[in-house]
Symmetry: C2
């Protein structure tokens, strides 16, 4: 008899606990594969304090029942997490971020030059783990995903301080930079567990839309989150002139005069004050519009799984969506004007 | 009847000409696989004006006879060249180099932030090509090599302005950052052409020592080369306080007083004048010692091939070594004091 779906997130995390413990062990052993001279630096980046969203997606999408921890899933989770950590190391160089997961970023700790190369070493090792599967499929999927993630990041970097970004362009950028790796995580989980190929496709679609929803949420956090609670430097999008959905909606809603001041500030590189922007967002109820966009994506993600509700992984996958929805709710409760 | 070994380098290059033409076509098609938004940037980095040393090594080590162009060799050459170009993109950020192959570096052209990500996209695509082989072997070898290349670069970066680097440490750094990819290029060429496994091991050893020789040569060029002829910013090792063999030998040979001045300059970040250092190198005959170190490596490389002189690739491989020896000779002729 399969267990009933988890009632809440702590139950969900309890279920994947044995997988996460296996992943911890796997990552610790991986550190040993780096050259002795850079091992401590690699260990610093591979710390286990992150949210491990992508591994969770691998484990949940490939769920085979209580207590079944598959080596393939743990390895795949290691690959996607290491790719993700590598992108964080490089992102933090670009964003001049000092804090990540409540401690210094690699760029701050080792200097930006070493951080460029350290990110490269993490990317390489991730692909090296991917090459330990019997076929080239994981290498092929993960290397392509990684290229797309980087392409999305390049587009966003090149268009900093560009206020003429359309909603379609914003969507394309977050699709590449975030949804891509969410997508491949869910696909790999489903695929490596030998579930019906049609379900692997559905998991792919679920991961894609969950990823878009998550990135929009993350963009909202950058405006309205509390740094101490989130554990990373916030307001970086505003500071670096990155046009995200909250800012796009804010620019649409303010008066022409106010917009002109904001556009000049964004273009000229004088950062808009975070607290002033935050206040205007609250006054104009911007978070409400952002939350609606997230809800739409989560609905599409759920729909993708509708034909497969009887499969073991699905209740857990749906919980992942709900988890995000609750986080969004908690964040917007304090910021959406009534 | 196999053709006689090439008499000179133009004959060597003529022989691999059809392979290079195939590689050009391959790389042009690869550009199309990048996202449309970053395609021009990728094309800029994948330009065909480089020396293509690593592809030459793949082609020569896998030589199967005049006119035989194998798709596998072209693909493997594409992989190692793309990894190499990615490392150049990142190296140029770190060295603050403005010119490479007689034109602007990617960092100068697109900005350092975009260049970080562009290098990442090139790395990813290289591994994606590697995943198109029937087995995971190429992915496995290339991803591991890439990690080692990055590790070597990290060590060198972290130890800039450190004058307490031993010869063994210098050797380990160039072993990782340069010899590793030379090694894997020669191994893959021999291996993919179905030559005797013992020969693939010999090709591996040959490539390793050729790589060390080449890096020592390159470090000498950085001091005594002519920028216009070489087509890249020179003197960067001195400017960034990177201790390489020429500088190590120079520090050994100067008087204690002179050494103290040089050490203070290197440590303090005030660059030593390139022309003054160049002159002291000439006066003290430093290039002679550097050339001897190169010769020793080339001798070991040649010896590795000794049991296989009757195999088709070997005469061409030996020519590669001779080509480097002639370049070293031409460089030192103008700089070694009599």
């Amino acid at each position: 008899m399969p267990l009933p779906p988890p009632r809440d997130f702590s139950e969900l995390f309890e279920r994947v606990g044995p997988h996460m413990a296996a992943l911890d062990g796997f990552m610790r052993r991986e550190v040993e594969h780096f050259e002795p001279e850079i091992r401590d630096m690699a260990a610093y980046c591979l710390d286990t304090s992150g949210k491990r969203l992508r591994p969770t997606m691998v484990f949940v999408s490939g769920w085979q029942g209580e207590g079944v921890v598959s080596d393939d899933l743990v390895r795949a989770a290691g690959v996607v997490e290491m790719v993700h950590l590598a992108t964080l190391v490089h992102d933090d160089i670009m964003d001049r971020a000092e804090i990540r997961r409540s401690r210094r970023t690699a760029a701050r700790e080792f200097g930006p030059d070493a951080a460029v190369l350290l990110g490269d070493a993490l990317f390489s090792q991730a692909l090296h783990i991917a090459s330990q599967f019997p076929t080239t499929e994981v290498c092929r999927l993960v290397s392509e995903s990684t290229r797309k993630v980087c392409s999305g990041e390049i587009m966003q970097t090149l268009r900093r301080r560009d206020i003429n970004i359309s909603l379609a362009e914003y969507r394309r950028m977050i699709d590449l930079k975030t949804a891509e790796l969410f997508r491949v995580s869910c696909f790999l989980g489903a695929r490596l567990s030998g579930h019906d190929p049609a379900f692997a496709q559905a998991a792919d679609r679920f991961g894609h839309h969950l990823g878009i929803a998550y990135q929009i949420y993350d963009d909202l956090v950058d405006f309205v989150g509390e740094e101490k609670r989130i554990g990373k430097t916030l307001g970086t999008d505003l500071a670096t002139g990155k046009l995200t959905l909250p800012l796009m909606l804010l620019l649409e809603r303010v008066s022409a005069d106010e917009r002109a001041v904001m556009v000049a500030a964004l273009r000229g590189g004088h950062p808009l004050g975070l607290s002033a922007s935050k206040q205007r967002m609250q006054e104009l109820g911007i978070a409400g519009g952002v939350v609606r966009a997230i809800d739409e994506e989560l609905a599409v993600a759920r729909e993708a799984l509708a034909p497969f509700t009887r499969l073991t992984p699905v209740p857990l996958m749906l919980q992942l969506g709900e988890m995000l929805q609750k986080q969004v709710g908690a964040l917007s409760a304090t910021t959406v004007s009534p």
